[in-house]
């Protein structure tokens, strides 16, 4: 894929990732290391919680989203975000097939650094039923094309 520099980005430009299937083993492995709470670890215990069944850690959904975004968006210099607004409208469940749809929502030249600019990106993570599992509105740094 040709790498995209700041000059190549346009508002409305979209990137769609390949799929990733989540299973119970992945959910439990991630949770065991990073988010060891019953609703992410134990299907029986999870039934008694607000989730009503085993659900992936939101940070697992976020990490998988990054993996898929790296495959989808060939930004020159890599995808490098400084933060943004994150939401999990619904949990990721065992068997969900995730994909990511990202859209450029803003392009902002730098006033102080002629070698780079910023882009705003809305990143949606959806499952195979097209339910939105995560949204992330992020600002990324993008280099301008070398002279």
């Amino acid at each position: 894929m040709n790498k995209l520099y700041f000059e190549d980005l346009r508002v409305g430009q979209r990137f769609v990732s390949p799929p990733h299937t989540v299973d119970e083993a992945q959910i439990r492995t991630f949770a065991c290391e990073f988010d060891p709470q019953p609703f992410h670890l134990d299907p029986d215990a999870a039934r008694q919680t607000l989730f009503g069944g085993l659900a992936a850690s939101g940070w697992h959904t976020a990490a998988l989203t990054m993996k898929l975004l790296v495959q989808a968006a060939p930004i020159a210099g890599g995808i490098l975000g400084s933060g943004g607004e994150l939401a999990w409208p619904q949990p990721t469940r065992p068997g969900d097939v995730l994909h990511v749809e990202a859209e450029i929502t803003g392009v902002i030249p730098s006033r102080s650094r002629p070698d780079r600019g910023s882009a705003l990106m809305r990143i949606e993570t959806r499952n195979h039923r097209d339910e939105i599992l995560q949204t992330f509105d992020v600002r990324i740094v993008v280099p301008v094309r070398p002279a």
Copy 2:
């Protein structure tokens, strides 16, 4: 630790986690699975990037923050966030010793559900030099004490 229900939470209440030391192997293992970009994988390649050296994926910092928060904040029913504003002012580096400081910044009774309320929490992730690596302002769901 006694579990904290909605009635037990107060604005200004604080939680401080134990430490977690991050090393190059952890950074590369996480990045390999979830964020395979040169600045998270290869110290030599990272030197040529905006990071100027190997840096952890922001999602790795976020996942470690969750691990530490679970150890720090004994919320009844677990820590269950619906989203919030996330920022990475500085990258996590090999050798950084992380800890988490969280503070309740709001308590919001539910108008429709008498069995739960919401709390706002500011979660800061700091290293051993007290540099802030991540902030996350999140809304969590907290059950009221059973009758």
